[in-house]
């Protein structure tokens, strides 16, 4: 395969654990990337996909090293390469596009000098630099390129920064571009445009691209070939579209079934049990790493590790029982019974607004309306979703309902009582009725409290006389309800995984038996399989205890899967609302349409054209 630009053969990266053990974080990865092609590295967090990017740059974390296999670029060995030669390659022949664009540019320097420094390195003469910068910025569709040169990074949006970084990456006409989750931190409409831009650049410069992502559907749209990773091992490899259309490896299949869809008939998401094993547990596993969670597991799977082998023309999978994969399905859910419309209104919001005042100059001020006259209702036992991008005001609404912010005007009625005006009765009513599940499990759980103490926190305030044993029992009950084992009671939050933390979060909210639960982006930032578990959990809880939920998310597909009704927000206002299925099937407002169009379609065969509207 001498024509391959980037070639990996049995690449293995190890690290040393405590007690002298060695652990493979990447095992036996092989691929060949031809010039002008896009290779997708797909996997959930912890799968090892970023490790490959770091290995190429030889910026492995301390203690990690390549222990076997090879990685070569245009025939040269990347691992054994001498430092100076590698530094010459970086930035010229090999370019990187980062994950967090807003923090990837030097904050105390304008775009011009940073770009200029890069151009100087690749040998552009001083007199030509400014023109070259402007040309590149225009090539990435940045309006008013000449102005942007003199802007600081904090004056640009995330999407604009990413365009600048893409311009810098392609300025040297690299042969290889590594994009590590380049759109994860961006809004969904911007994501679509950036992906389109990258495809355009790839065509113009004939660069090979390694596209690292956790989003299987996105990968299927932009990549030629996909390599799926699980716990550091490649589990399936093949052409993107056919892989997504009919995955062969059980993990890939489960992943496909766990992603909520915007168009297919409603079905239950496949909730794969457990989570990907972390570093420490990996070494203890023998046999297939996926065996503990695999629906088609057999004895042979636990004994010996399968390797990538050709299973069909052009398709490889690492599984002993690929023939069972197509049998893995998730049930289509019976349509929810049409509940009688006589449900009582639980929450009624009318003309709600929140304005922030910012000082300008010495005496002036400017009002900014995060929420601008919003009205809606939530009935008992109803799940309502609020969707929108960043800055739409959806999180502010949650804070207003829950009392973390005070409304500038409008009413918020909970079972008849207006809680918008602060008063002891309002606070009491709120505490009894509403609870919130916060987005960031890191900051939502007090790191100094044990899980049992966090989960039963309500009792400290409402029933302080309760005995320790009784409290512990209640704690275990709650943990069981959210599907966690009682033995986690004594742990600290830092010892839990992301999914487990979110469950504890939910359990804490449930302890107060609320009638209305507010969930602010609680599944964003979680792996797809964990997300599916939590969605299944919420559905089950809805059946068992009955409560309403206001579910805030930027992910339309998740909202479609979970909520009866949806409110679409844009710049502080509700632009469209209605039953979820209807709104998503036949959107009326232009913004809703653009949101829907920006999501990569389920069917990889269908064409997805992220349009090139003016850049933001």
């Amino acid at each position: 395969m001498s024509s391959a630009l980037l070639s990996a053969k049995g690449l293995t990266v190890e690290t040393g654990l405590a007690h002298g053990q060695r652990l493979k974080v990447l095992s036996d990865v092989s691929f060949d990337l031809e010039p002008g092609k896009v290779l997708g590295l797909v996997g959930e967090s912890g799968a090892g996909k970023s490790m490959i990017g770091r290995t190429i740059a030889q910026l492995l974390p301390p203690g990690f090293a390549v222990s076997a296999g090879s990685l070569s670029f245009a025939g040269e060995d990347l691992v054994a390469m001498e430092e100076g030669r590698r530094r010459r390659l970086l930035g010229r022949e090999i370019a990187f596009i980062p994950q967090e664009p807003l923090s990837a540019l030097n904050p105390v320097s304008t775009v011009g000098p940073q770009f200029g420094e890069h151009l100087a390195r690749i040998g552009v003469a001083a007199a030509e630099r400014r023109d070259r910068i402007r040309t590149m910025l225009e090539a990435v569709h940045l309006p008013r390129a000449a102005e942007i040169i003199d802007h600081y990074p904090h004056q640009l949006s995330g999407g604009m920064c990413q365009r600048v970084l893409i311009a810098m990456a392609f300025a040297s006409r690299p042969r290889l571009v590594i994009a590590d989750e380049p759109t994860t931190a961006l809004d969904v409409t911007i994501q679509a445009r950036i992906v389109g831009l990258m495809a355009e650049m790839r065509d113009a410069y004939q660069a090979a691209v390694v596209f690292i992502t956790h989003d299987l559907r996105l990968a299927a749209q932009i990549c030629d070939d996909i390599l799926v990773l699980y716990a550091g091992r490649p589990v399936e490899k093949g052409p993107a579209r056919s892989l997504l259309g009919a995955p062969l490896h059980p993990y890939a299949r489960c992943l496909q079934l766990a992603i909520p869809s915007l168009s297919a008939p409603e079905r239950q998401l496949y909730a794969l049990a457990g989570e990907m094993p972390g570093l420490a547990r990996l070494s203890a596993l023998e046999g297939c790493r996926f065996a503990p969670r695999c629906p088609s597991v057999g004895d042979i799977c636990r004994k010996s590790e399968p390797h990538l082998a050709a299973v069909a023309p052009g398709r490889e999978a690492a599984c002993y029982r690929v023939e069972m994969t197509s049998g893995i399905t998730s049930t289509t859910e019976a349509p929810a019974e049409a509940k009688p419309e006589e449900r009582k209104t639980l929450l009624a919001v009318d003309g709600l607004a929140k304005r922030y005042r910012t000082r300008q100059g010495l005496f002036g001020h400017r009002d900014f309306a995060a929420v601008n006259g919003v009205s809606f209702e939530v009935a008992e036992d109803e799940f309502v979703g609020i969707v929108g991008e960043s800055g739409s005001g959806k999180s502010t609404i949650a804070k207003l309902v829950v009392g973390l912010e005070r409304a500038s005007s409008g009413r918020i009625e909970l079972s008849g009582l207006d809680i918008a005006r602060p008063s002891p009765e309002a606070r009491r009513k709120r505490i009894d009725t509403v609870q919130m599940v916060f987005q960031d499990p890191q900051s939502a759980l007090n790191p100094r409290r044990r899980v049992a103490s966090i989960v039963t926190q309500v009792l400290e305030a409402t029933a302080p006389q309760i005995g320790a044993a009784e409290r512990l029992a209640r704690g275990r009950e709650l943990l069981a309800e959210v599907g966690l084992s009682g033995e986690l009671s004594g742990r600290y939050p830092s010892q839990l995984s992301g999914g487990q933390k979110q469950r504890v979060n939910i359990a804490r909210a449930l302890c107060a038996t609320p009638k209305l639960l507010l969930a602010d982006e609680i599944v964003s930032g979680l792996d797809v399989s964990v997300q599916a578990q939590l969605i299944a959990l919420l559905r089950r809880l809805r059946r068992e205890l009955s409560f309403s939920m206001l579910f805030i998310s930027h992910d339309l597909a998740v909202v479609r899967n979970l909520c009866d009704r949806v409110l679409v927000m844009w710049r502080g206002e509700i632009v469209e609302s209605g039953r979820t299925a209807q709104v998503f099937a036949a959107p009326q407002h232009a913004y809703t349409k653009s949101l829907l169009a920006a999501v990569p379609p389920d069917d990889p065969a269908s064409v997805w054209a992220p349009f090139e509207a003016p850049a933001t």
Binding site: L404, I431, F438, S443, A444, I454, Q457, A461, S494, A512
Partner: protein, 284 residues
């Protein structure tokens, strides 16, 4: 779990050991001092330490310009230093921490007022402010303690307030309020445990600062009376006879340095082991 780690830190152990030794000297001075620190012996003035040629073994570390035993004076000086260190830092901590928590947690006008007060206070160099306060309060150890409390509460307040602000912004504090916690309960159960490590570190460092301030004030003659011994005072005396007996100057300097070093090592070690950022599990 974390406390065990703290005890294993080299800095903490050494710092604690030094502080313990100085504390022991202070507590047991009346028992271990070979002479009365105020007893003058005008025949044997400015004797060098016992190990040098002209030294006298009854005066292990020599005598000062009035023939008083240096070792005894050092030990009794430790009493003054440690008393001031403990009481003053405790007082400054109570005042500063209380205001920091109230201001940082409640925010708004209260916080603004406290912030302005801190700004005004800190626009004064601490040494100058202490001198002014001492003029108003009159000389004496009690005034020294009061002066330190009145000057240094700002240091606690400013640093802790930042930490309180960060903690208050955490979602789990909002969650506690949502679950029905009163302000008091939230402050004591959620915020205070988070700021406690920093508080402890600051107290340790403040003790070192208090020792220094006491030395400065006794150097200018505003701390203990003439019939008591304090390290700063010993330095002031020794300056007069710097050419004859350099040891009289070096020994109290050393005493101050070692004591402050002990407190700083302790504080530095505690900060490193109790830093919450280092506590989180490192994921790859």
């Amino acid at each position: 779990m974390r406390k065990v780690a703290a005890l294993r830190s080299g800095r903490v152990i050494v710092g604690l050991a030094i502080v313990a030794v100085v504390l022991a000297c202070a507590l047991f001075a009346p028992l271990i001092a070979p002479h009365d620190p105020e007893e003058q012996n005008l025949i044997s003035t400015l004797l060098p330490p016992a190990w040098s040629a002209a030294g006298d073994p009854t005066y292990l570390l020599g005598t000062d310009s009035l023939g008083r035993d240096v070792l005894s004076r050092l030990l009794y000086g430790a009493r003054v230093a440690m008393t001031v260190a403990m009481l003053a830092s405790l007082g400054a901590m109570l005042a500063g921490a209380t205001l920091a928590h109230i201001g940082g947690y409640f925010g708004g006008k209260v916080d603004w007022l406290i912030g302005r007060a801190v700004d005004v206070w800190m626009s004064f160099p601490p040494v100058v402010l202490s001198l002014v306060l001492m003029t108003g309060l009159g000389a004496g150890v009690r005034s020294v303690i009061l002066a330190i409390v009145l000057v240094d509460w700002t240091r606690f307040c400013r640093v802790l307030r930042a930490e309180v602000l960060v903690t208050t912004r955490q979602d789990y504090v909002a969650a506690a309020r949502l679950v029905g916690f009163s302000h008091w309960r939230t402050l004591t159960r959620e915020i205070l445990p988070a700021t406690l490590p920093l508080l402890i570190t600051l107290v340790s460092i403040e003790m070192g600062i208090a020792v220094i301030v006491e030395a400065v004030l006794s150097f200018v003659g505003m701390s203990v009376g003439a019939n008591q011994s304090a390290w700063g005072q010993m330095i002031a005396d020794a300056r007069q006879s710097i050419y004859e007996s350099a040891w009289n100057l070096i020994l109290p300097m050393l005493a101050i340095f070692v004591t402050v070093l002990g407190f700083n090592l302790l504080g530095d070690g505690l900060r490193r082991t109790l830093d919450p950022r280092l506590m989180q599990t490192r994921d790859v």
